[in-house]
Amino acid sequence: MRFTPLNLGRWILWSATALVFIAAPLVFTSGFSLTMMTQMGTLIIFALSYNMLLGQGGMLSFGHAVYSGLGAYVVVHTLNLMGKGSVVFPVVLLPLVGGLAGLVFGVLFGYVTTRRAGTTFALISLGVGEMVFACVLMFPGFFGGEAGVSTNRVVGKPFFGLTFGPALQVYYLVAVWCFLSMVAMFALTQTPLGRMANAVRDNPERAEFVGYNTQRVRFLQLVLSSFFAGVSGALSCINFEIVSAENVSAIRSGGVLLATYIGGVPFFFGPVVGSIVFVFFIVALSGFTKAWLLYLGLFFVLIVLYAPGGLASLVLMQFPLIRAGRWRELLLPYALAGLAGLVALAGVIGLVEMVYRLSEPGASTVLSVLGVSFDARTAPPWFAFAAVLAAGLIALRITTRRVGERWGAIQADLLAKAAG
């Protein structure tokens, strides 16, 4: 009988995660970062629940916002009833209401969507998403039409002195639920259903021949996943105090796909990384530039092409090197490649920003970089940034080849050592 020795590591990892949740607002104290972190926590739950489908069950869904969005609608009405005094319920437990609502809709729609796997599943999930979105606009009585339903989260008696009015209290509410959800979803991967979801993803045929109904496995996995989607929907409702058609839209469903994929589908923690980066893109970048969506799209394409395991895979790839004490040999190649990447990025940003200035009516076409002003209506800056981009790309090509060679050599070394 052997015991897996990773339990200690796991405890350390989870404790560190909890510490980060607790300490984050003490380090990043501004209201802006607090808003951002609250959204990150909400998206982390949503993306992890999405990865229960994509990463663990092999189900590519284009309509996951249905479950978080409908959960949010149920919660917004619950909150309004609580405000009127006709329902008494603690705000802290509202995510549970959202979760249960998500779960009920998961049972309802999942019964249809999970009958098939693969492309058919993806298409049906897209169809269900569009259908729900249309219904939301069709019944403004409940869903509030385009404007949505707004609410006030400060209702009822304070919970141990917490009213959830201040943003910091909302952050900690999200943090606690996010941590609990993370633990719960990780635990689910370690159950018979969780393991068989992996089996069904890898080889559905064989799973049937060891006694498992693959359709049932997919269905249960989706139902559990929609519970957590509902939890995240409830938290976003509490945070923004409004729920609208956008909450169930294909844009939301696409967004969670991007966040999950950028972070890394094959790894449990991938979507956590992805959510942090994604919210940063949306909230922080959108304050600086109107082209943020374009940058996000570009980033996504690069990830899909060059790091299909997401950011998490890039990080995890370094672990064997660090363990073998060989990471120093890659520092210089990495730094050079990073530098080349920054040059190329500067070229891209210059060109994109000029395009946006020109296309926007009434905007000033004069930009300035490092104290140098130039006009986007003249040719020289275009040539300059194109040249920067070209130089960056060529440098990137050379430096990444160097990284690849060095990497391959070390890998071969380690393999030879392991074999000998």
Binding site: A187, P192, E208, V210, G211
Partner: protein, 254 residues
Amino acid sequence: MTNAIELQDVHKSFGTTKIIHGVSLGIRAGERHAIIGPNGAGKSTLFNLISGRYELSAGRILLHGGDITNLRPYEINRKGLSRSFQVTNIFHNMSVFENIRCGVLWTAGHRYSFWHRVGALKDVQRRAEEVMERIGLAKRRNVPAGTLTYAEQRALEIGITIAGGASVILLDEPTAGMSRTETGHVVELVRTITEGKTLVMVEHDMGVVFDLADRISVLVYGEVLATGTPEEIRANPAVQEAYLGALHKETAHA
């Protein structure tokens, strides 16, 4: 005594092509039964019909006297029939241990549980370790199945099949593509793991067949030409004519 498997006038066609026409066959409980026949005789199709991978065009199949005709593969598996595949059919991204565990979970009664931690299920753990020991992959426990050697993957294929403890085992060419020594190992493995169970196997290696089988059925063009003990089959002139003779000539020339 009822047969472990009973095929009653089983037919299978793909479109207008008839692959199996009118196979009736009884596999006795506890015997090791080999199905032989030339390529394209329908041996694998017969396996796919028994295990629920294909639907029958006509006829009936009974397992321990109960009707399993056109049940889904998982339903048939739950009734105690487990099969292996000719083309290795494993969970490539999972470790050897996890592969075996997938084969254990359902029969151990854990079904779709999402309230148990698999690591804490001692019965599953013990059974998986035992199966790995048996198929000789205990040392490769944590290796991803996709990176195993061919012979190891074949052993794992058998391991997943027997992990659930099914009483009727169907093995589709367990020695396909193996060297002499490897084949010898597999024969011994199959002999031990099927002790007290019913075995049906499709096999091309006549050495293996005559070594292992209590009875042999010869399938030619989707029909059973003969069924009998190895001696009876060897002495059967029709079989000689249709199959063994040709094979002997082939090997004599080679």
